[in-house]
Amino acid sequence: MISQTVLVTGLLLMLIGVWGMLTQRNILRIIIGFALMGTGSHIVIVAVGYVAGGTAPIVDGPVTVANAAARAVDPIPSALAVTAIVIGLAVIAVMLAYAIRLYEAKKTLSIDAFADSKW
């Protein structure tokens, strides 16, 4: 049940992100849509790794070396989510840098002003 709730939350965030990227005309809002989609996908990755009744895969307190395999959630999606967060941050940083350059070129952040590269 917990993982379903988290999964639905993540997928909804992804949908909102896609909607934002397709309908907004301001470049910053498009980037926010992209960030929302990325965050949603991180939540989905973590939700997929949930094991019923599991806890964080850290040996501490009630989780001992002997019973860790029975108590812990899947650590691999969590490790991959760390990777995905870092790469997502990198991509968004580059997008924002391009947004600054585009603003300098046309003094506007509206995507409609940048139609001249169309063939």
Binding site: M1, Q4, I58, I85
Partner: protein, 231 residues
């Protein structure tokens, strides 16, 4: 793309996502690979935090590549934003001068910056014991720089020092990895240093050392990125 096409596309995507949710069933036990990781990280590597063990030993080469991606982004943003001519002085196309940060923000930054730096150091060195590690601690350290940039308009990010420290940290990570080939099982194997007592601060072999280098590298790279956006 025409506006009318957006709604069918979103509905289609929603149907795909909905079928994913309906077919999803919570797993009752770990898959075999995950079980092996959860068993092996505390026993073989001596690290209580399984995720850090995976990130900094079993998949450490992947982590190294990820740091390389961050480095390329820092370099790329330097290329995009670094060499621009300075637009000093009033210019009709520039927005009005920003309101200076208030007294509370300036003094709050003075108090918070050392505390945030301390917290970042804590997260980095306890990465193998609890939640945290090099990436997380480095991001917290960079948030220190972000606070300084926001609170003190006269603050300038020192690109030369940050780049030197970042290169040094990257070199040390690779050297530690090569030491793993020579003295232990393979590239970036953590058992070049003694595994030590389970759960102690100085344990889990090279993982805390790697974590510190990684934290320094990520913190410097993110600080350079933040500084470029400021300049």
């Amino acid at each position: 793309m025409p506006r009318a096409a957006v709604i069918p596309l979103l509905v289609a995507l929603g149907i795909v996502f909905g079928s994913v949710v309906i077919d999803h069933s919570e797993s009752a036990a770990l898959p075999p690979l995950a079980e092996a990781y959860v068993e092996m990280v505390p026993r073989e590597l001596g690290a209580p935090n399984v995720i850090t063990g995976i990130l900094l030993t079993y998949r450490a080469f992947d982590t190294l590549g990820e740091v390389a991606v961050l480095f390329m982004v820092a370099a790329g943003i330097g290329l995009l934003l670094g060499g621009r001519p300075k637009t000093d002085g009033p210019d009709e196309t520039q927005p009005a001068a920003a309101v200076p940060p208030s007294e509370i923000v300036r003094n709050g930054a003075d108090i918070l910056v050392p505390l945030i730096a301390l917290f970042a150091a804590y997260i980095v060195v306890h990465g193998h014991l609890g939640p945290g590690g090099g990436f997380q601690g480095g991001a917290v350290a960079a948030s220190c720089i972000l606070l300084l940039v926001l609170a003190k308009p006269e603050y300038r990010v020192k690109f030369a020092q940050l780049s030197a420290m970042e290169s040094l940290a990257g070199l040390l990570i690779v050297l530690l990895g090569v030491a793993g080939i020579v003295f232990a099982g393979g590239f970036l194997d953590n058992r070049v240093l003694p595994v030590g007592e389970f759960g102690a601060l100085f344990s889990a072999g090279a993982i805390p050392v790697l974590s510190v280098f990684l934290g320094a590298k990520v913190g410097c790279e993110l600080s350079v990125i933040i500084g470029r956006f400021r300049a």
